[in-house]
């Protein structure tokens, strides 16, 4: 009996280890591509999009591709609409020779450049470059070379319910301390004061360093372990410990549901949600930047968004570049359509943003003004390996009452190690 037990265990164990190794090494499968292509074309470009939530975006992407083939009969474009975890899918796909020729990303890391997952696009950017929002370009730029073309800018800031603030007799907060006080006063009955993410930090942790007028990175130096940033964390933490944060809600912060249902009075959110919020709440909401903290503090509006890159390992780099130039640089109609016909985003070109009619009035105009005034974001060196220790430290400080400065200092050492390992490109 005792002899057969190890036999069984060895077999199970082999099965188990195969699963572990297989799971870690073989990344997820690709989804079936959708979209057309023309039979007579000499070159077929594979173009990947993540699944945009807005109605009509997929049809629009297919239409752009078809239009391009109409004008360039030699080049067919096959659009692949990738649902679910887009990032891991493109990351595993570009490891193979069959990866997409053109795909979209949020930021270009130095590793992506070193491994030729992207290619320099300076030549197609040309003079348009001066017109692009510098914060939209910075996460795509290394050593002065741009590796992507921004498609849309997303603006993230605080939304609040005017009626709930008025009922509680709370003024619109202009400092972090006031925000903490407001959140406390607004927490009544089934309404919580503020929502920054179901874990109590997802939307907030990246904002705090900017709110004291500092940055997480200064060139190739990690600079987030400062007394000022630590103090911002200590103050912001009170919203968590005083239970004035909405936690564990059914939807995430990027969905406006919590604000609309009144589960929270203030919420970190994106401009993309503006059409729905104004449809559901009418006049009962307004926008405000994340408030400043301390004497050197600045109000913060965060930029995000999607950008287009060309796979450096593509067999058709030149054709892909031409296509990207046509789609996102020359074709104003497409850029406006993509940013504003389905959801609500800001076109990255200053000229187009200024002309865009839906952005000229009301809350949308206010958001664009706040973006121009306070918009900022992290640079291309804030790669996942570098930011991970920071994110973990933020969790420990906010949710486990860890000492802010000591925790940030320990994390900064690890971030610096990761930063030093990034190739210089």
């Amino acid at each position: 009996m005792s002899g057969s037990t190890p036999g069984l265990s060895r077999r199970r164990l082999l099965g188990g280890s195969l699963l572990v190794v297989g799971g870690a090494v073989l990344p997820g499968c690709q989804s079936d591509p959708i979209g057309g292509g023309s039979g007579s074309a000499k070159v077929t470009l594979n173009h990947w999009y993540h699944e945009y939530g807005e109605q009509g975006t997929r049809e629009a992407a297919l239409r752009y591709a078809a239009d391009y083939t109409k004008q360039n009969p030699d080049v067919a474009v096959k659009v692949t609409w990738v649902p679910g975890d887009y990032k891991t899918k493109w990351q595993s796909s570009v490891l193979t020779p069959e990866g997409p020729d053109v795909y979209e990303i949020n930021e270009v890391t130095p590793d992506m450049v070193a491994q030729r997952q992207v290619t320099a696009l300076d030549d197609i950017l040309g003079s348009v470059r001066a017109e692009l929002n510098p914060h939209a370009l910075s996460p795509l730029t290394h050593g002065g070379t741009a590796y992507g073309v921004p498609m849309i800018i997303d603006v993230m800031l605080l939304y609040y319910r005017k009626s709930l603030l008025a009922d509680a007799g709370v003024a619109v907060p202009t400092t972090l301390t006031e925000l903490v006080g407001a959140a406390r006063a607004l927490t009544r009955g089934k309404t919580k004061g503020i929502f920054v993410g179901n874990d109590g930090l997802a939307g907030m942790r990246g904002v705090l360093p900017f709110s004291v007028g500092q940055a997480v990175l200064t060139d190739r130096k990690v600079s987030y372990a400062t007394p000022e940033i630590a103090d911002a964390f200590a103050v912001a933490r009170r919203m968590f410990t005083e239970k004035s944060m909405l936690l564990g809600y059914a939807t995430e912060w990027y969905d406006p549901n919590a604000l609309i249902t009144g589960a929270t009075a203030i919420a970190w959110g994106g401009l993309w949600a503006l059409p729905r919020i104004s449809r559901e709440l009418g006049d009962d909401f307004d926008l405000v930047p994340w408030p400043a903290h301390g004497p050197t503090g600045k109000p913060v509006v965060i930029l995000g968004g999607w950008s287009q890159v060309v796979n450096g390992k593509s067999k058709h780099v030149d054709e892909a570049k031409k296509y990207v130039r046509w789609l996102w640089l020359q074709n104003n109609e497409v850029q406006q359509d993509w940013a504003l016909s389905y959801g609500f985003h800001v076109p990255p070109r200053a000229g187009l943003a200024a002309q865009a009619e839906p952005l000229q009035t009301g809350a949308a105009k206010k958001a664009v003004d706040l973006l121009n005034q306070h918009g900022t974001r992290t640079t291309a060196l804030w790669a996942p390996t570098v930011s991970k220790p920071y994110d973990d430290a933020a969790s420990d400080i906010i949710r486990k009452n860890a000492d802010p400065l000591a925790t940030l200092t320990a994390a900064a050492g690890r971030s610096q190690e990761a930063l030093d390992k990034l190739p210089t490109v």
């Binding site: 005792s2 190794v21 090494v25 874990d199």
Partner: protein, 326 residues
């Protein structure tokens, strides 16, 4: 296939005097061909998709492979050093050990208890067996979302908070509260609900193998009371099942990923935080988010080794236990 095998055996029987004859060898060859033909797809698949991948993974774990799975940039043991130098990885290892120590005995006891109860039923046994087994067919992802969004959501109307309200408790953010670690309640209950049924079936099968005469004999010998019968007959004779169940449970616990990832991640906003991050979630993040495939592979082998080690130790302990017990 079985008909042919039977015929061959009959043939072999009739020609027993000439065991090494050419005829018999020819029959063996055709059987071998059939065997090879039928198993080849599986074996080739296993070789290509498992063993080659494993071998490649092992080589990658000694390479500096960031943003690529190409070999060649050898780094020696650097990945292993980085891994063990990261306090978060060490935390994730100790976390999974604690999780295993909690979930394995709990599942074992509840599954065994249910099996005993269901086995004693005179009527409706199939109904209860099916009812308890049903959750095993539910996906971990689906169950996690139900636990996250309705049972243990942080709003006052969630099931757990409604129940708490009956006792005058304030609504609690179950998943977001890591100090005290209330999220463990969510993690443990969802896994229990999902896996208890399956192991109950294994125990039930084991119990039905125990001959009824043993119980009768014990009663004749004066062993009275259900507990004594369970203690001295059922449980000792379930030994094989118990060993298998424990092994499966330990391996499943070490491979925990789905419910941790789905309960604790914040959607597009990011992977789970440092609390409740088992090794596989840590490695998923390293490989597929940070694109460090070398480090990720090293971690996969460390976890594999850990499972091997724990299983061997466990096999040893159980073996010793038996000899001592007897």
């Amino acid at each position: 296939m079985s008909v042919r095998t039977g015929a061959r055996q009959a043939d072999a029987g009739t020609v027993r005097p000439a065991p090494g004859s050419a005829r018999r060898r020819r029959v063996d060859w055709s059987a071998w061909r059939a065997f090879a033909l039928l198993t080849a797809p599986l074996l080739v698949g296993l070789l290509v998709f498992k063993y080659v991948a494993m071998g490649w993974g092992l080589l990658l774990s000694f390479s500096d492979a960031r943003g690529t799975i190409a070999l060649g940039d050898w780094a020696g043991l650097a990945n292993y050093r980085t891994l063990f130098g990261d306090p978060r990885f060490r935390e994730s290892l100790s976390m999974i050990v604690v999780f295993t120590l909690v979930i394995v005995p709990l599942t074992f006891a509840i599954a065994l208890g249910l099996a005993v109860l269901v086995n004693r039923l005179r009527r409706g046994r199939a109904l209860f067996r099916t009812t308890f087994f049903l959750p095993a067919a539910v996906s971990y992802v689906v169950a996690s979302l139900i636990w996250k969004m309705s049972l243990f959501s942080g709003v006052p109307s969630s099931a757990a908070n409604s129940l708490a309200a009956l006792f005058g408790q304030e609504p609690t953010a179950w998943i977001a509260t890591v100090d005290p670690p209330l999220y463990w309640v969510v993690l443990v209950t969802v896994r229990l609900w999902l896996q208890v049924g399956l192991y109950m079936i294994l125990f039930l099968a084991g119990m039905q193998e125990i001959p009824a005469e043993l119980y009768e004999a014990a009663r004749v010998d004066g062993a009275a009371g259900q507990w004594r019968l369970f203690r001295h007959i059922t449980f000792p004779l379930l030994r094989n099942t118990s060993v298998a169940v424990t092994l499966l449970l330990v391996i499943a616990a070490f491979q925990a990923f789905d419910e941790f990832y789905n309960l604790l991640s914040t959607g597009l906003a990011g992977a789970p935080g440092p609390d409740g991050r088992p090794p596989l979630v840590y490695l998923y993040d390293v490989s597929l988010v940070q694109q460090d495939y070398g480090l990720g592979s090293a971690g996969a082998f460390v976890v594999t080794l850990l499972i091997v080690l724990v299983t061997l130790v466990q096999g040893r302990l159980v073996g010793f236990g038996r000899r001592d017990g007897d």
